[in-house]
């Protein structure tokens, strides 16, 4: 495994660069927009007193660079500022929404990898036959469907017509683990897109990998089928799926926002949408940084895992 360390170093540098860029971008998008941020934020109620108050709390009279340095220094210490609406610290908003979102994300990721891998390998084993055609058609179709449309239809059929599962998480408070039935539909909807895209890529990579010379050679040596598939072919099949992993992380973060809105789960996505509705800039900034940094870290982790699987495939760094 020579070359892992220099590669890791370069990849870490890229990750650090991305984190810095994300912080700058979030600040630029929310505060350094052309025009007066306070007027834009007052929005529907352009009352001079409110605009003055906004300018006061956001320190808009100071130059943007100075505010950026202050904010970034606060971020480095874990201080995200406080809400414009309630005055509560942003970190308390994050703490409130963290539990349900983490639960959803963990459940989805735990199910995603074995499900996508299993479906992909199953389709590749039966290439061209009914099982493969069925899996390919369904994954291709569902892959493009927005979560909210799929979710609403599932709720209409499963929850309202058949009454098998509760339609939303309303009335269960923060303690979702005590009511696992509430989580079935959200996790299912959250899984729909990433499972489809990953399964398709694993299938394609697996078909290529099974046709490779080293697999034919291993087969001649009499290595049993399951070991051949999972120990020798699958790691190579994961390389093309790696490029898609970045997108998958993106989809999961977007999906969480939609699913929480759809099933009324009090997680980070709900906090984010409330902040958007109330134009609560500090909360928005804090959440955006948390979401984006999570994306950067997950991408980094995925790239590292893939690099270990197929070192010569050379994931871009």
């Amino acid at each position: 495994m020579t070359g892992l360390r220099p590669w890791l170093l370069r990849r870490l540098l890229l990750g650090a660069g991305q984190t810095v860029a994300v912080v700058l971008l979030v600040f630029a998008l929310t505060e350094a927009l052309p025009g007066d941020a306070a007027v834009a934020l007052a929005g529907d109620q352009p009352d001079p007193a409110r605009i003055a108050a906004l300018r006061e709390t956001m320190h808009l009279d100071r130059p943007a660079a100075e505010r950026l340095v202050d904010w970034a220094a606060g971020l480095a210490h874990g201080d995200l500022g406080s809400s414009l609406v309630s005055g509560r610290p942003v970190s308390s908003y994050l703490a409130d929404g963290f539990g349900p979102t983490l639960l959803l994300a963990t459940l989805t990721l735990l199910l995603l990898v074995p499900l996508a891998g299993g479906l992909g390998v199953l389709a590749a084993r039966h290439e061209g036959r009914l099982v493969d055609r069925l899996i390919s058609a369904v994954t291709l179709g569902v892959y493009a469907v927005p979560e909210f449309a799929l979710g609403v239809l599932l709720v209409t059929v499963v929850a309202l017509r058949l009454e098998w599962l509760p339609p939303t998480a309303v009335g269960h408070g923060d303690d979702l683990t005590a009511h696992p039935a509430v989580l079935v539909l959200p996790v299912l909807v959250l899984l729909s897109r990433p499972v489809c895209s990953l399964a398709r890529l694993v299938r394609a990579g697996m078909i290529d990998a099974l046709a490779a010379p080293h697999i034919a050679h291993a087969r001649r040596y009499g290595i049993p089928g399951a070991r051949l598939r999972y120990a020798h072919a699958l790691p190579n099949a994961l390389a093309p799926a790696a490029q898609q992993l970045a997108r998958t992380v993106d989809w999961l973060l977007c999906g969480v926002i939609v699913v929480e809105a759809l099933f009324v789960i009090p997680g980070l996505g709900t906090v984010l949408m409330n902040a958007v509705a109330e134009r609560d800039v500090p909360v928005l900034q804090g959440l955006a940084v948390v979401f984006a940094v999570t994306g950067v870290v997950l991408n980094l982790a995925a790239d590292t895992v893939i690099y270990r699987c197929t070192p010569r495939a050379g994931v871009a760094a």
Partner: protein, 293 residues
């Protein structure tokens, strides 16, 4: 087999697309408002959350989604094409890095998050959402253009054109652009489905469209409160969005299957005998040896 896939994709796509494009012609004048969330009573599909006829809203609501998605895709490519071509064709490495590295960084930010951030501060209209979604898609599109063009730019014919002293535009558009066209068409299909997804999801989350707009995604969101008594006001637009996105994806897949010389990941393999697949465990060949037959 291929014909069947075409037919399947066209059937799925035809209903929502025709409704979206021709629906507004048949919508007619708005009738009197009835009670909210009723079924029947002169309204084929019932009434919505403010008592409007659901069927009329469905007829009107497809056009904004489809138009915004098409405009955003076109706009993203209008910026990504020159960016990607410049990056692929330049001999100055720093220029290539300068053009592509910032985009790599942008890729790290979840696309919906960017849209929401901007939308919270400026409240964009329908045109603003198309612009935003296009912006979010530029990094990925530019990357795809650059990759496709870089492969074409490494061919001997491009060197020959350069030595003949052909103009940059002729080399870039006439030769490299044309050679990369097929890959780009495949990418455009993927991009369009992604853009449709983002436009619809943003509308569902209440960004871009007015809260009472005739828009399928807005209808799904606003009529959710009455789902127990009037499921059609939600199910009808949701079904149409599902059919629209699914159909677009199936159509592009059917159109590209069997045409690409080497199947892109996840696509059906062509029936013709193909060169042995590149083995992932061997180092990839250099760019110059890659596309020699």
């Amino acid at each position: 087999m291929r014909r069947r896939r075409w037919a399947c994709a066209l059937i799925v796509l035809a209903v929502p697309l025709l409704l979206a494009l021709l629906g507004p012609l048949f919508a007619g004048e708005p009738g009197p408002r009835g009670a909210s969330f009723t079924t029947g009573g002169g309204h084929g599909a019932g009434t919505d959350f403010v008592g409007r006829d659901v069927w009329r809203q469905v007829l009107l609501g497809g056009r904004p989604v489809v138009l915004a998605a098409l405009a955003a895709t076109a706009l993203a490519y209008a910026v990504a094409l020159p960016l990607g071509l410049c990056g692929a064709l330049t001999h100055r490495r720093w220029l290539d890095e300068l053009l592509t590295r910032p985009l790599d960084v942008l890729l790290a930010v979840p696309s919906l998050l960017l849209v929401l951030l901007v939308a919270a501060v400026v409240r964009p209209g329908a045109a603003g959402i198309a612009l935003l979604v296009a912006l979010v898609n530029i990094p990925d599109a530019a990357r795809a253009v650059r990759a496709a063009a870089a492969e074409a730019a490494a061919r001997p014919v491009v060197e020959a054109l350069r030595m003949q002293g052909e103009s940059w535009a002729r080399t870039a558009l006439g030769c490299v652009g044309r050679a990369a066209l097929r890959t780009l068409a495949a990418d455009a299909g993927v991009r369009l489905t992604g853009v449709l997804y983002l436009v619809a999801t943003a509308s569902f989350l209440g960004v871009g469209a007015a809260p009472d707009a005739a828009d399928w995604a807005v209808m799904v969101d606003r009529n959710r409160t009455g789902m127990f008594v009037q499921p059609w006001a939600v199910a009808l637009p949701a079904l149409l969005i599902v059919a629209l996105t699914m159909g677009t994806n199936l159509l592009f897949d059917a159109a590209l299957a069997g045409r690409t010389p080497r199947p892109a990941p996840g696509r059906e393999r062509p029936p013709a005998p193909e060169p042995p697949p590149a083995d992932a465990t061997y180092p990839a060949p250099g760019p110059n040896e890659k596309d020699e037959p």
